[in-house]
C-alpha cells in the first residue's frame, strides 16, 4: 500500500507532518498483543488526511509481543515505524516529548487510552503540557487543515458532534467514535522496518509502589424507571442522560470545593 505522501511529488508541496503515537494493545479475551484499537483508529484518521507525511512512533521495549503489535500497524501500509527504545518500567513521557520536540510535527494523533499498563489516558495530556500544545480529545474526524488551523469534529455522547478549530501544532486523541481501522495486511507488515532509536531513560519512580490487577468493568448506575405505560418506558429508554441535580461551582475556595465533593459522595452513599 503506497501512501500518496511518500511519492516524491507530494513531498515538494508543504506536506503536513503528522506523527501517530502507537502503543502495544492487548486483546480483551486472550490477552495477546495486537495493535491497540484506539491507536489504530488514530492511524486510520491520519491516513485519510490530505498530503500528510505520516510517521508512526512507539516508545517502549522491543520484544516479541511488541513487535507483533507494531507489525500490526505497519500492515496498514507503512514502510517503517520509529521505536524510541525504553525499558519496561520507564516513564516514556520525557522521551516522547524530546523526540516530538526534535521532529516538530504539526499534528500528533494518539488513542484515547492504552489497552494495558496504566491505561490512565493521561499520556497525551502530559505531553501537551510539556510541549505547550493544545489538546483536543475524543475526535470523530479531521475535516480540513488550512493555513495551520485544523477544523475538527469532536464526538459527544449520543452521536452528537461539535466542530472545533485549533491552531497547529496540536495533539488530538481519538476513541471508538472515529472510523475503524483498515485491515492490517501480512505483506507490508512483514516488510515494514522497525527503526529503533536509543533515548535517555527516565525511570517511573511511582510505578514500583503500585500493585497491578486486571481491570474490571466499572459498575453502571441502574436507571430506575417508574413507568406506567410502554410509552413511558420507551421515553425513559430513549431519553438523554440528564445532569439534573448537578451544580457548577465557580469562584470557590479549594475548601468549599472539597466540601461540596465530600457532601456529594455522602449523598450518593459512596462514603458512609
Amino acid at each position: 500500500m503506497r501512501l500518496e505522501a511518500q511519492q516524491p511529488g507530494a513531498q515538494e508541496e508543504a506536506a503536513l507532518e503528522v506523527t501517530v503515537l502507537v502503543s502495544v494493545g492487548r486483546h480483551p479475551l486472550t490477552g495477546r498483543a495486537r495493535r491497540a484499537d484506539h491507536d489504530a483508529r488514530g492511524v486510520e484518521l491520519a491516513l485519510t488526511l490530505d498530503k500528510a507525511r505520516i510517521s508512526l512512533l512507539h516508545a517502549g521495549a522491543l520484544d516479541e509481543e511488541s513487535e507483533n503489535a507494531m507489525r500490526g500497524y505497519l500492515g496498514m501500509g507503512f514502510p517503517a515505524l520509529t521505536l524510541v527504545e525504553q525499558p519496561h518500567g520507564a516513564d516514556v513521557i520525557p522521551a516522547l516529548a524530546d523526540r516530538l520536540n526534535d521532529a516538530r510535527p504539526q499534528l500528533v494523533i494518539a488513542g484515547e487510552r492504552a489497552e494495558q499498563g496504566e491505561g490512565s489516558g493521561l499520556l497525551p495530556y502530559l505531553l501537551a503540557e510539556r510541549l505547550g500544545w493544545p489538546l483536543v480529545s475524543g475526535l470523530a474526524d479531521v475535516e480540513k487543515i488550512e493555513n495551520g488551523v485544523a477544523t475538527l469534529l469532536q464526538a459527544l455522547p449520543r452521536g452528537q458532534r461539535r466542530r472545533l478549530q485549533v491552531r497547529l501544532p496540536a495533539i488530538i486523541t481519538v476513541d471508538a467514535a472515529a472510523s475503524s481501522a483498515r485491515q492490517s495486511a501480512f505483506g507490508p507488515s512483514r516488510r515494514g522496518e522497525i527503526e529503533a532509536e536509543p533515548a535517555a531513560v527516565t525511570w517511573d519512580e511511582a510505578q514500583p509502589e503500585w500493585s497491578v490487577a486486571p481491570a474490571r468493568k466499572r459498575p453502571k448506575r441502574l436507571k430506575i424507571v417508574k413507568a406506567a405505560s410502554a410509552r413511558d418506558r420507551f421515553k425513559a429508554a430513549a431519553a438523554k442522560a440528564e445532569g439534573g441535580s448537578g451544580q457548577v461551582l465557580t469562584d470557590v475556595t479549594p475548601e468549599q470545593g472539597a466540601e461540596a465533593i465530600f457532601k456529594l459522595l455522602k449523598d450518593e452513599g459512596v462514603l458512609r
Binding site: L29, T30, G75, R182, S184, A185
Partner: protein
C-alpha cells in the same frame, strides 16, 4: 495443378502453425516458473486425454461421440493428408484411410453444426459459430481432393475452376485448423489443451479414483516470494497454459452456484479474462455470457498490469473473485481439467495479504482468528462449555485414544452443538474409545485460507499439528467436512499426516461392524444434500447414503446430487464476504429439495446446516446425519456387552 498446389498449401499452413506455436508458448512463458516433469508429462498425455478427460466429456454422450468423430477424424486426416498430399505417398491403403478419416470428421462436424443451430446459453458464440462450417470445409475439401488420388475419379476431372474453388475451400479449412490452432482461433483448445494435460499443475489428479483438491501452500519463509497473484504474469506458466486451453463450453457456468444466484461471477468468463490479460487487451471480443450485471467491453488488462484495480476497473473486479464459494463444481465439470478455484484463491491471496482488502466481515474474521483462534472471536477457553454436562475425555488427560474427535468451530454455534451432542451419543452407543482436544483445539484454518490469508492458515495449522503430535490416536473423526478436508489434504504439506474420517464414514463403518443398531425409520421422505467438501473434494458420496439406508431411509435424490450437488453457499468464506446477487444460493438449494417433495433434508456439514436452515419458509426440515442416527439408536443386544462403555449415553437436549 492441385498436385503442385497442395504440398505448398499444406506446408505453408504448417509453417505458419509452427510460428504461431512459438508465439503462443512465449505468451505462456511470461508466467512464473513451475516445477514440471516435461517428459513424463508428455508421455502421460495420451492416457490423460483418452481416459481421464474422456470420463468428463462422456457425461454428455452426444457431444462425446461428436467429439470422438470430429477430433479423431481430424487428427487422422491431418496426418494422412500430410503423407498423401504433402509428401505424395498416395499408394495403396493410405488414400482410402484418408477418405475414411475425413468422412468421419465430416459426420462429426454435422453434429457440431446441429448443436450450433440453437446453442444453449452456456456456449460461447462469436468465432465458435463458424467452427462447424470450418470443420466441414476442411473435411469436405480433403475428401474431394482425395477422390482422384485413390482413383475413384479420373485425375484431371472437372474444370480447373472447380479445382481452384476446391483449393479455396481447403485454404479456409487449413486456415482454421492449422493456422487458427496456434494463432488463437477456436481450435486453439486442441494445441493448448494437449499441452495443458501434459504439464498440468496437479499431475496427481489423473488416474482412476485419484483426486487432488487441497490448495497448494504459499512459501512464507522467503520474504522475496510474491504473496499471491497480482498480475497475469504472476501465475505459473502452466496455469496460464491451462487458461488458454478453455473451449468455452460453459459447463462450469451452468454449474456455478454464484452465477445462478446472479452474483458477478462466471467461471468461464473469468478464465477468458485471464487469457485476455495474458495476451493484453480488452474483453470486448468475448462472446459468451458476461458476469451477471457487468457489461462486456469495460475491462482490460495487460500481462504485467494489475488484475484487480485499486480504484476503477482493470481486468476483473474484486467482487467477482469474492463471489466464489470454492465449491469446485466448475473444476469437477471442466472437460479441460482447468483449475478455477486455485486461480481464484491465488488472486484472493494477493488482495488479502498485500492489499489488506478482504471485503465484508473478512477483516474482522481474520483478526478474530489471529487473536482468539476462532472466527467468531469467542473466548478460546469457552470451547467446551457446550459439553459441560457430557464429561468428554480430554486428550490432555488420557493421552491416547482410538479416535480423536475433532469438534470444529461449531462448538460455539448452538445449532451445531445439537449435532455434536448427537454424535457423542452415537459414539458412546457404539462404545468407541474417543477423546477430544478441548480447549487445545483451534480453528483448522479453512476459512482463513480460502479468504486468501495463507499466513493465518499456516500459523493455525502449525500450532494444531504441534498439538496433535503430542497425542496418540488411530484416526481423527469430525462432523465438519471443511476441517476434514483441511486436516486430511492440506496439513500434509506442513508435515501433518493423519487418517481422517468424516462422521458419516465412521458411522457407516461402525454399522458395518455391527456396533450400531437402529430402530426402524418412522419419519417421512428424506433427501440428502452432498456437502462440497465431502463429495467433490473428497469423493465421499456413498457412506452418508449407506448410513441413511441403514436407518431404513430411502433417499429421494435431488436432480443435482453426488458430484453435481449444488453448493449451499456456505463455503470459501462466501457468507463472510457476502457479495450481493439477485437471489441467495441456499434458497436455490432448498428449492431443489422442495422439488423432490422430501420432508427432511439430511446434511453432513455445519455450514450446510446453517445455510439451509436459514432459508425462510422452507418445505423441509434440516437434520444432520448424526442427529438422525442418534434418534434411531436402539438398545444393543445383551451379547455385545463386552465393549467398554465409558459413560451412560447422554440424552439429547433440544431447546
Amino acid at each position: 495443378m492441385l498436385d503442385t498446389l497442395l504440398p505448398i498449401l499444406i506446408f505453408s499452413a504448417l509453417a505458419l502453425a509452427v510460428i504461431g506455436a512459438v508465439r503462443r508458448i512465449r505468451l505462456w512463458r511470461q508466467g512464473r516458473p513451475a516445477r514440471v516433469d516435461l517428459l513424463r508429462g508428455l508421455a502421460a498425455m495420451p492416457r490423460r486425454y483418452l481416459v481421464d478427460l474422456h470420463h468428463v466429456v462422456a457425461r454428455d454422450k452426444v457431444m462425446s461421440n461428436t467429439h470422438v468423430a470430429t477430433a479423431g477424424g481430424f487428427v487422422a486426416a491431418a496426418v494422412l493428408m500430410i503423407l498423401v498430399h504433402g509428401l505424395g505417398l498416395a499408394q495403396g491403403v493410405l488414400g482410402w484411410a484418408l477418405l475414411a478419416a475425413s468422412a468421419a470428421m465430416f459426420v462429426g462436424s454435422l453434429f457440431v453444426a446441429r448443436r450450433r443451430r440453437k446453442p444453449p446459453a452456456r456456449l460461447s458464440k462469436g468465432p465458435w459459430m463458424r467452427l462447424p462450417k470450418s470443420l466441414m470445409a476442411f473435411s469436405l475439401s480433403v475428401f474431394l481432393i482425395t477422390l482422384p488420388t485413390v482413383g475413384i475419379l479420373p485425375t484431371g476431372f472437372g474444370h480447373w475452376l472447380l479445382a481452384l474453388a476446391l483449393a479455396a475451400v481447403l485454404v479456409w479449412g487449413l486456415g482454421e485448423m492449422f493456422f487458427g490452432m496456434t494463432w488463437g482461433g477456436p481450435m486453439k483448445h486442441a494445441f493448448a489443451g494437449a499441452l495443458h494435460l501434459a504439464f498440468h499443475r496437479r499431475p496427481e489428479r489423473f488416474g482412476e479414483g485419484n483426486r487432488s483438491t487441497g490448495l497448494k501452500a504459499l512459501s512464507l519463509d522467503d520474504p522475496k516470494a510474491p504473496l499471491g497473484v497480482e498480475t497475469p504474469s504472476d501465475f505459473t506458466w502452466n496455469q496460464l497454459l491451462g487458461f488458454d486451453a478453455c473451449v468455452q463450453c460453459g459447463r462450469c457456468e451452468a454449474m456455478c452456484p454464484a452465477f445462478a444466484a446472479g452474483q458477478p461471477l462466471n467461471p468461464k468468463k473469468l478464465i477468458q479474462d485471464m487469457v485476455v490479460g495474458m495476451a493484453g487487451g480488452s474483453d470486448a471480443s468475448y462472446a459468451g455470457s458476461p458476469y451477471p450485471d457487468k457489461p462486456i467491453g469495460e475491462h482490460r488488462g495487460h500481462p504485467h498490469g494489475p488484475i484487480v484495480a485499486r480504484e476503477g476497473t482493470a481486468l476483473v473486479d474484486a467482487e467477482t473473485l469474492w463471489s466464489c464459494t470454492t465449491c469446485r463444481a466448475c473444476v469437477e465439470e471442466c472437460p479441460m481439467m482447468i483449475e478455477h478455484v486455485d486461480a481464484i484463491v491465488d488472486m484472493r491471496r494477493f488482495l488479502t495479504l498485500e492489499r489488506g482488502d478482504t471485503p465484508g466481515k473478512g477483516a474482522e474474521v481474520i483478526d478474530n482468528l489471529i487473536a482468539t483462534d476462532n472466527p467468531g472471536g469467542f473466548d478460546p477457553g469457552s470451547r467446551m462449555h457446550w459439553a459441560a454436562d457430557l464429561n468428554l475425555p480430554l486428550m490432555r488427560d488420557v493421552g491416547e485414544a482410538e479416535v480423536l474427535l475433532w469438534l470444529g468451530d461449531g462448538v460455539f454455534d448452538m445449532r451445531n452443538q445439537r449435532t455434536l451432542r448427537a454424535l457423542v451419543k452415537v459414539l458412546r452407543g457404539a462404545g468407541v474409545d474417543f477423546a477430544v482436544l478441548g480447549n487445545e483445539e483451534r480453528d483448522s484454518g479453512d476459512v482463513a485460507r480460502r479468504l486468501g490469508d495463507e499466513a493465518t492458515f499456516q500459523s493455525l495449522a502449525k500450532r494444531n499439528i504441534a498439538t496433535l503430535s503430542q497425542y496418540r490416536f488411530q484416526r481423527i473423526v469430525t462432523c465438519d467436512p471443511h476441517s476434514f478436508h483441511v486436516l486430511k489434504n492440506e496439513y500434509g504439506e506442513l508435515d501433518g499426516h493423519y487418517q481422517v474420517s468424516h462422521h458419516s464414514t465412521y458411522i457407516a463403518e461402525l454399522y458395518e461392524a455391527g456396533r450400531l443398531h437402529f430402530a426402524p425409520w418412522k419419519g417421512g421422505t428424506v433427501t440428502y444434500h452432498d456437502p462440497c467438501y465431502l463429495g467433490r473434494y473428497n469423493g465421499e458420496y456413498e457412506a452418508p447414503r449407506n448410513v441413511l439406508r441403514a436407518l431404513g431411509i430411502e433417499v429421494k435424490e435431488m436432480a443435482r446430487s453426488g458430484y453435481r450437488s449444488r453448493c449451499c453457499g456456505g463455503g470459501g468464506g462466501a457468507p463472510i464476504t457476502d457479495i450481493p446477487g439477485k437471489q441467495r444460493i441456499p434458497d436455490m438449494r432448498m428449492n431443489d429439495v422442495e422439488e423432490t417433495g422430501a420432508e427432511l433434508v439430511a446434511v453432513g456439514c455445519p455450514q450446510c446446516t446453517a445455510m439451509l436452515e436459514g432459508v425462510v419458509d422452507a418445505t423441509a426440515e434440516v437434520r444432520d446425519i448424526a442427529e438422525l442416527v442418534a434418534e434411531a439408536l436402539a438398545e444393543r443386544p445383551a451379547a455385545s456387552g463386552s465393549v467398554r462403555v465409558q459413560q451412560p449415553a447422554a440424552e439429547e437436549v433440544t431447546p
